[in-house]
């Protein structure tokens, strides 16, 4: 208790957490805070600079190639980025951690098979695997999450495996077994809480990476499909107009930058804090 309090007080300087919280709030409450419908087109007001006023409202961050409000699209884009990143981290984390803990605890054939599988996945370039899988499954919100989870679970498996190996021979694990605890109970109530710290660090850093991956897939047209707003697709279309309408790509890039930066800073702080606690 005392330790987790001090983690919040001294471990996280406030602003990355505040920034992340703000972006999450924007994403959650998007329908209530956007100035206009992000999909509403205004072909007469295409590619207008920030501050442009039309139809009774101000385009604070300008309008895009179809005259849609960039600010509204950015806010809706946060929904896609954050939910894809969160769900893919959750899915790949659950799969990877389970695989890693089983391999590290059961050893033997299970270990060999699972960890070689991990090696195989790690040896395939992640973005290539993602592109191929999306090409097969087809693009879309759910598929992007599945694809990201498929390419990223080995990272959690590696960490969980190493941590579990280090714990499996500790006396308290043997004692738990001597008390009659079953394998799932040993894994989930005795080992998992003790390896949660490093896994949380990996998950936080992966979150930032997943935001970028999603943007990358959307940039390539393999992510969520138009007209759904996504930072990656805004970057992609904004690229064509960067000389005449810099605001589209710039603000999308800035939003991405801030989200990834805050996730990574939180991850670094957590990692430092856990290092100190040991």
């Amino acid at each position: 208790m005392a330790r987790s309090m001090s983690l919040v007080r001294t471990g996280l300087s406030w602003w990355p957490a505040l920034l992340l919280a703000t972006l999450v709030l924007f994403a959650v409450f998007a329908p209530w805070i956007v100035p206009v419908d992000p999909d509403r087109q205004n072909l007469l007001g295409r590619l207008k600079p920030p501050g442009f006023e039309a139809r009774g409202h101000v385009f604070w961050l300008g309008s895009d190639e179809l005259g849609r409000d960039v600010l509204s699209r950015l806010i809706y884009g946060a929904r896609v980025s954050i939910s894809v990143a969160f769900l893919s981290v959750a899915l790949s984390g659950v799969v990877g951690v389970s695989v890693g803990m089983l391999a590290g605890y059961l050893r033997g054939t299970v270990e060999t098979v699972l960890m070689r599988l991990v090696d195989i996945f790690l040896s395939i370039p992640a973005i290539l695997l993602a592109i191929i899988t999306v090409a097969v499954l087809g693009p879309g919100f759910i598929n992007v999450i599945l694809v990201l989870a498929l390419t990223r679970w080995p990272r959690y498996a590696r960490v969980a495996y190493g941590q579990t190996l280090a714990l499996a021979d500790r006396p308290f694990v043997t004692l738990a077994r001597a008390m009659g605890a079953s394998t799932p109970r040993v894994l989930f109530t005795h080992i998992l809480p003790n390896i949660a710290g490093p896994l949380l660090v990996v998950a936080t850093l992966e979150f930032g990476l997943m935001v970028l991956f999603e943007a990358g897939l959307s940039f390539l047209g393999l992510g969520v499909q138009p007209p759904t707003a996504s930072w990656g697709s805004m970057l992609s279309t904004g690229r064509s107009y960067v000389a005449s309408a810099w605001w589209i790509a710039t603000f999308a890039g800035l939003a991405l930058f801030l989200l990834v930066l805050s996730a990574n800073l939180i991850g670094d702080r957590l990692s430092d804090q856990i290092g100190k606690g040991r």
Partner: protein, 317 residues
């Protein structure tokens, strides 16, 4: 019928033989001490009873009968149902043997919960009561603390509470006081034997401390090099040790009634590593009574006081 009867147990790892033909028995409610130097195979013997041998170690032969059932023939699930209910264990390092992130009360309640003997609430109440019985002050408050907030002695009390809460028939205590301060060793031992006696729990006590043996044990098994070399009731063993190793082991204890300032007795040489145990009697390279005949393996003989030596002290009984 014996509560626990180990017969001709052998444990090995790869080429190595680490425990070779150990036989011993524990009667209900009895305290049996398993004595020997580090590496003599006492902890391996204990872990194999629980079915918790580390990876890479295998039971090569022999049987372990507990309450009539051969533990070596049980499947994992059957063995697990005995662990924590009928069989309990206490380890040497009290602090690292407890989960650093679980409150001690929950760890005491663990065996009741995993065996479904009580609801979580009921188990936690019983755990607090058990903490009170092992002499932990303010058990309600302590039960919510983490092991790191308790001293080593307190943690050992917690482990004893966790082991005895389900009133097991056999408690295996692997050097329960080695890691503790001398001043609290006696308290912990007294507590353990008192609680075990109340529940009629037999104890297999693993130790290398002859003082502890004299204090608690009914029967003593002396191990050397993975074999039992002598087995006797505690009084008989201390009064008239028959194996040269036991005799030397007893001589190493400094005595208060002897001339002070004389050099302490030590057994010459080191325990040979399992890679180069001598053929025949494994103690013969350090034994002052060794002869040619000792190159043949001596087997245990005798009825009450059993010894494995061709030239046992005190002649043929």
């Amino acid at each position: 019928m014996s509560l626990l009867a180990i017969d001709d147990l052998a444990i090995g790892a790869g080429e190595l033989s680490l425990v070779d033909g150990v036989s011993l028995s524990v009667e209900p409610g009895e305290v049996v001490a398993l004595v020997g130097e580090s590496g003599s195979g006492k902890s391996l013997t204990a872990l194999s009873i629980m079915g918790l041998l580390a990876d890479g170690l295998q039971r090569r032969r022999g049987s372990i009968h507990f309450d009539g059932a051969d533990l070596t023939q049980l499947d994992d699930e059957q063995l697990r149902s005995l662990r924590g209910s009928e069989l309990a264990m206490i380890f040497q390092e009290p602090v690292s043997s407890l989960n650093p992130l679980a409150p001690v009360g929950a760890q005491v309640a663990e065996s009741l919960i995993v065996h479904g003997r009580a609801s979580v609430d009921g188990a936690n109440r019983e755990a607090v009561e058990m903490l009170r019985r092992v002499g932990i002050p303010e058990p309600e408050r302590r039960a919510r603390q983490l092991p790191t907030e308790l001293s080593g002695g307190m943690c050992q009390r917690v482990m004893i509470a966790a082991a005895l809460i389900s009133r097991p028939r056999l408690l295996i205590a692997d050097e329960p006081t080695t890691a503790l301060d001398v001043t609290i060793q006696a308290q912990i031992l007294a507590l353990m034997s008192e609680l075990a006696e109340e529940a009629n729990t037999a104890i297999l006590l693993i130790t290398h401390d002859m003082g502890v043996v004299a204090e608690l044990a009914d029967q003593v098994c002396v191990m050397y090099g993975g074999r039992v070399v002598e087995q006797a009731p505690v009084e008989a063993l201390f009064a008239a040790p028959r194996h040269p190793y036991t005799s030397m082991l007893l001589k190493t204890i400094p005595r208060l009634d002897e001339e002070p300032k004389q050099e302490l007795f030590a057994i010459k040489g080191n325990v040979p590593s399992p890679h180069d145990w001598p053929a025949g009697c494994r103690f013969r390279t350090r034994c002052d009574r060794a002869m040619e005949q000792c190159a043949e393996r001596p087997f245990m003989s005798g009825q009450v006081h059993r010894v494995a030596c061709h030239h046992a002290l005190g002649g043929d009984l």
